[in-house]
């Protein structure tokens, strides 16, 4: 009996003290910005997180990175919803949000708005633009367009290409392909002879490209919607003994792809500056919290990377 009363008292004490402690921590000076991104397993998102943390340190805000465990659209969205609800319950000051699913996230983000927590949309647009203060990201259409142009110029303005798409429904892939299509209108002698998805996955791209090469051995170039797939395509082309003859383009400029550019296996890729994306998003959140005016769109510029600037593009 005594023990029970003791436990009860302890519980009451804890419940009483916790919120106060929480407030004390905040009073100690830091406002908190929660950054919810797509995952923390891919180099790109790890750089985004690094950039966000750096901005937090620079401006004196506490930055917490949250990611769903699952990256598939359904379960990923569900987990992002939980992360948002946690943020609301904790009473954070601002949320930077990169939705896994641009549409399904809308009711979740609406809850943030109801709770008067300002939202900064990062990298992938939320389908309802009344919900967020500003959008920070690159224009995937432009990125696809610039890369495609560099690839087409490398082909001498004519020839046959494959387009290897990312996961079906992924906005990044849709927009990058739109960019390629835009470039195609300027290069009438370039023909798309096959277009398939390899789910942003290196191993899948290797098999898909190997199979496509059977049907179209006369292809001149392969446009891939990310570097992972470009690296898979490069191995398929290598296995067919056509390295250098078939030009490959990727997107993101990750370390492996840069290495492959030096080896001559990949022709061109594009740097999305993930670090700058994370940094700018937190900076925008700080501006909103400090009552400064923000623009509707902060475009993080991309850079075409090829053999000429592969060692210097990050400077």
């Amino acid at each position: 009996m005594k023990r029970r009363i003791f436990m009860l008292l302890l519980l009451v004490l804890l419940v009483g003290v916790l919120p106060a402690w929480n407030k004390m921590e905040k009073a100690a000076g830091e406002q908190e910005i929660v950054v919810i991104i797509k995952n923390n397993t891919v180099p790109f998102w790890i750089s985004v997180a690094d950039g966000a943390r750096a901005a937090g340190e620079e401006f004196g805000y506490k930055v917490t990175i949250k990611t769903p465990v699952e990256t598939a659209e359904g379960s990923g969205n569900e987990q992002q919803a939980q992360l948002v609800d946690e943020a609301i319950a904790k009473g954070v000051d601002s949320v930077v949000m990169t939705p896994v699913d641009s549409k399904a996230i809308i009711p979740v983000v609406a809850r943030l708005k109801e709770a008067n927590i300002p939202i900064i949309n990062l990298n992938t647009r939320i389908a309802d633009d009344t919900l967020y203060e500003t959008f920070v990201g690159l224009e995937n259409i432009n990125q696809g367009y610039d890369t495609a142009k560099a690839l087409f110029d490398g082909m001498g303005g004519k020839g046959k290409i494959f387009i290897i798409e990312g996961s079906t429904g992924a906005q990044t892939s849709i927009d990058r392909v739109k960019g390629v299509e835009k470039a195609l209108t300027e290069y009438p002698e370039i023909e798309v002879i096959a277009q398939q998805s390899a789910n942003y996955n290196r191993a899948e791209a290797l098999n898909v490209v190997q199979n496509l090469l059977q049907a179209h051995p006369d292809v001149d170039a392969i446009f891939c919607c990310n570097d992972e797939m470009a690296l898979g395509a490069a191995e398929a082309v290598d296995a067919a003994g056509k390295t250098g003859q078939i030009k490959i383009s990727g997107q993101d400029a990750n370390d492996d792809a840069c290495e492959a550019i030096r080896e001559g296996k990949i022709f061109v890729t594009s740097y999305g500056n993930p670090y700058m994306q994370g940094y700018t998003a937190v900076q925008a959140a700080v501006d909103v919290l400090e009552g400064k005016e923000v623009e509707l769109f902060y475009e993080v510029k991309t850079k075409v990377v090829n053999i000429d600037n592969v060692d210097t593009f990050k400077d």
Binding site: N40, T41, V42, P43, W45, I46, T168, A194, Q196, S197, A198, N199, Y200, N201, R202, A203, E204, L206, N207, V208, Q210, N211, L212, Q214, A215, H216, E228, L231, G232, E235, A239, N254, D255, D256, E259, A260, E263
Partner: protein
């Protein structure tokens, strides 16, 4: 005797499915599909990985279990051993890869046999654990670029015309075929899968058997991982891809019964080739990759019905025959 006949009839019927798939494709696209180059690419370069993984899956299913964790264990063993292969410290790389693979395999086996967790649940959880550790170890950094001498293990040709990966797969196939068909171990494996209680009563050490099966799976996963490093020239968690599902599909489509104790590794090879040729064929036809998922699913369903149908037909034939044979005696 009837059991054996039934098995060989089921095998022949699955070879027919494979031939039908190839025939349809060869008819639709003779110029791209029906070429030595394409067939050898699929059989000798693409299929071995699925076949090796499906061997493990089949052994687990034969022992009335399943191994969901194989692909993640493969990724983890790949990741932990890749730095050593890159440095050229092959012995250590091989030891680590197989250590991780067999370690996780024994762990699966213990969970299933000693703690008596359902195989699906046990291996499903281990799948998360292994992949999680792989992500932590990798921390978003892929290991890229291996020496040509390492990649020779996969892509070299010890026998001209046959890449080493295919040669290794053939050797593993023969070993497993021998193990399951002609050894006491193999007979015991089938009895455990067919009826574990009866096997226990007849003196088979069921627990040991199950642990050993999952340990073999782990080592197959490690082997596939090493070969995959050579093919992809990178360690990358996404190589897990659809391998788990493809290997379950191969076992099912090849005609290995989910109830345990029925089928052989020959079925697995046939099943894996059916899956790989469907994927290859649809790429060549220019059909969206997303349809492949649905088609593979449909093929699994159809082959399940097909298995049931074939089994019934065979049973009837056997029943009729034995009646014929009995009548004169009566």
């Amino acid at each position: 005797m009837s059991f054996k006949k039934q098995n060989s009839a089921s095998l022949i019927s699955h070879i027919l499915i494979l031939l039908a798939v190839i025939a349809v494709m060869a008819f639709l696209r003779p110029e791209s599909f029906w070429t030595v180059n394409n067939l050898s690419t699929v059989i000798l370069q693409q299929a071995p990985y699925t076949i090796l993984m499906a061997f493990g899956m089949s052994l687990a299913i034969l022992a009335k279990g399943i191994d969901i964790s194989m692909a993640s264990v493969m990724v983890l063993s790949c990741y932990l051993s890749a730095p050593f292969f890159k440095e050229g410290n092959w012995l250590l790389g091989v030891l680590i890869a197989f250590g991780v693979g067999i370690g996780f395999g024994i762990c699966n086996g213990l969970l299933i046999s000693k703690i008596r967790i359902e195989p699906f649940i046990a291996t499903f959880s281990v799948d998360f654990v292994a992949l999680g550790i792989a992500y932590v170890v990798c921390n978003g950094k892929y290991i890229y670029g291996f020496s040509n001498s390492f990649r020779w293990i996969t892509n070299g040709e010890l026998i001209p015309g046959i890449p080493n990966v295919a040669l290794i797969t053939i050797v593993v196939f023969l070993l497993l075929l021998f193990l399951t068909r002609y050894t006491i171990y193999g007979r015991e494996l089938y009895s455990v899968g067919y009826n574990a209680v009866a096997a226990q009563h007849s003196g088979i050490r069921v627990d040991r058997m199950i642990i050993s099966v999952y340990a073999i799976n782990g080592s197959l996963a490690a082997l596939t991982g090493i070969l995959f490093l050579g093919r992809l020239n990178a360690a990358d968690p996404s190589i897990r891809g659809t391998l788990t599902m493809d290997s379950i599909a191969s076992a099912l489509v090849g005609g290995i019964a989910f109830g345990g104790g029925k089928g052989s590794v020959v079925n697995t090879v046939i099943g894996a080739l059916i899956i790989m040729f469907i994927r290859n064929g649809m790429n060549i036809l220019g059909i969206s990759t997303n349809w492949q998922q649905s088609v593979v699913g449909l093929i699994i369903l159809l082959s399940t019905f097909y298995n049931l149908g074939i089994e019934n037909v065979i049973k009837k034939i056997i029943a009729l025959r034995s009646m014929d044979q009995k009548q004169p005696v009566q």
